[in-house]
């Protein structure tokens, strides 16, 4: 949406910059996470005390591996927005705020990338790291 274009939905002004998009993203990620969180609790129940072999067996189900990857990615997306809002609320000095928001973004990218990398290896039944790197 270009700056200065006023638009209204049901008589409520839509933000002229990125506010409305962020609002939608927060709600969308929340909605997706509701069923995934319930599934996550159930998975936590299954995996508790299952041990190494039990966890590997759990990952051999493509449904589990896929749902876990989706849960991780949507959670990191949601977490990035949530932490950014907290920083925006309490940190007023632009340099500190931008640095913190940048670090949070970096943490989220690392979490997402590393998480998906491990999930894919576990789902494929790759040999344990680091000996089997690339195997």
């Amino acid at each position: 949406m270009s700056l200065g274009t006023k638009s209204y939905i049901k008589g409520v002004k839509v933000s002229e910059r990125h506010g409305a998009g962020e609002w939608m993203q927060e709600r969308l990620s929340s909605l997706i996470l509701v069923p995934l969180t319930l599934w996550g609790l159930w998975s936590g129940w299954t995996l508790s005390g299952a041990g190494y072999e039990g966890a590997l067996a759990w990952f051999r189900s493509p449904v589990n591996a896929t749902l876990l990857a989706v849960t991780l990615l949507v959670s990191v997306w949601h977490m990035n927005m949530g932490l950014k809002v907290i920083v925006d609320d309490y940190i007023h000095k632009p340099v500190s705020r931008n640095t913190l928001v940048g670090l949070i973004g970096l943490l989220c990218v690392v979490l997402a990338a590393a998480g998906v990398f491990f999930i894919v290896r576990l789902a494929l039944g790759s040999a344990p790291l680091p000996a089997g790197f690339g195997a």
Binding site: V34, S48, G51, G115, L122, S126, P128
Partner: protein
Amino acid sequence: MSTSPLPGDSSNDPTDDQSGRFVRQPNGRVRPLSPHLQVWRWHVTMLGSILHRITGGALSGGAVLVALWLLALAFGPEAYATFTGWMGSPLGLLVWFGLTLCLAYHLAAGVRHLIWDAGEGLTPKSANALATGSIVFGVVVSVVFWAGLFMTGRVSL
């Protein structure tokens, strides 16, 4: 825009006030005290909002722990034994219980926000009920979940 009550109003004279609700500003005007945490009357929607933010922050730490779990699992049985050794210790179990509490509360409070965003439940009575309900849901679900884990022998001290 609010104005301070007029001096001379015997029922509510700010210049006479002994309750600390009014302060004399540097320009000499008497103004209501700005509402800091200490002078707010606590109400449950306020607690609900604060808890939603705190639990969200804690769950970010939980996401890091889940990533570490994946890392340990991908690094093989020895790394996994080290990880489960730490996480199965009394302190580790307390952390995971706390994270369960945060997750269950944040889930319920998040649904509460979605209800509000749909324009429902915004009267003081329903808003309070939703906030109380979220807290009760979080506590009950996590206590039942962990009682179940111990009773089925999945987790032990």
